[in-house]
């Protein structure tokens, strides 16, 4: 069964350092999402891609976060500099939905970030 891949699974960093997370969606899925999940809360959308284009990044703290999906396949989320409040699970999801549709989203295992 096809799955969304993410790496690393765990990341510990010190504040002010840069971190990067990688996601490889299910093959053929045009839509890719990055979510942040704080312990005890539901996932919160950070950025949504349709192929290589950003569809929604309204909740992305753009002063320190950036995301790209250059070839419309895998994606990287970067934080620079990391702050203590960035400690969370970062989830990637993908779906086959077309632009404007909200189809079933399949989540990867996530990256647990701890900022010290």
């Amino acid at each position: 069964e096809a799955e969304v891949a993410q790496s690393p699974r765990y990341k510990i960093t010190e504040k002010s350092q840069a971190v990067a997370f990688w996601c490889d969606p299910i093959s053929g899925h045009a839509t890719l999402y990055w979510y942040r999940q704080i312990l005890g809360q539901g996932p919160e959308l950070l950025v949504q891609f349709q192929d290589e284009s950003v569809v929604d990044d309204s909740q992305l703290p753009k002063d320190r976060f950036s995301a790209e999906r250059l070839k419309g396949v895998d994606s990287t989320l970067k934080i620079q500099p990391a702050e203590l409040g960035d400690s969370a699970m970062y989830l990637c999801a993908s779906s086959s939905g077309l632009a404007g549709e909200v189809d079933t989203q399949y989540f990867g295992p996530g990256t647990r970030l701890t900022v010290l």
């Binding site: 539901g42 996932p43 909200v102 989203q105 989540f107 295992p109 996530g110």
Partner: protein, 109 residues
């Protein structure tokens, strides 16, 4: 606007039934239900589309009342494997899923 889930937590004995509710202040196009086990990714359960349909998946079913902007998830004859946190995600005019804060379900033998 984040949907409101209730209850926040529930403890059951194996074999008992549970209902988890999800309500929104906005008109909804669809409701998505996921289950997440500790330290793992959310796993898709079902989507309910506008039209007030009810869906089932083994002993887990759900309903969607679009007029009341509410959805309910029904777990029948709960099994130990049903333990986890259940999230509803609502889709309104913004064309993205907004997740609730979750309902933690614990099943005891």
């Amino acid at each position: 606007q984040q949907p409101v889930q209730s209850p926040q937590a529930v403890i059951l004995r194996e074999g008992e039934d549970a209902v988890i509710n999800c309500s929104s202040s906005k008109a909804l196009y669809s409701v998505h239900w996921y289950r997440q086990k500790h330290g793992e990714a959310p796993v898709f359960l079902m989507i309910l589309l506008k039209g007030g349909e009810q869906k089932g998946h083994e002993k887990i079913s759900a309903s969607f009342n679009e007029k009341k902007q509410q959805s309910s998830l029904y777990l029948t004859a709960s099994q130990l494997s049903y333990s986890g946190t259940y999230f509803c995600g609502t889709v309104s005019s913004a064309s993205k899923i907004i997740f609730g804060s979750g309902t933690r379900l614990s099943i005891r033998p």
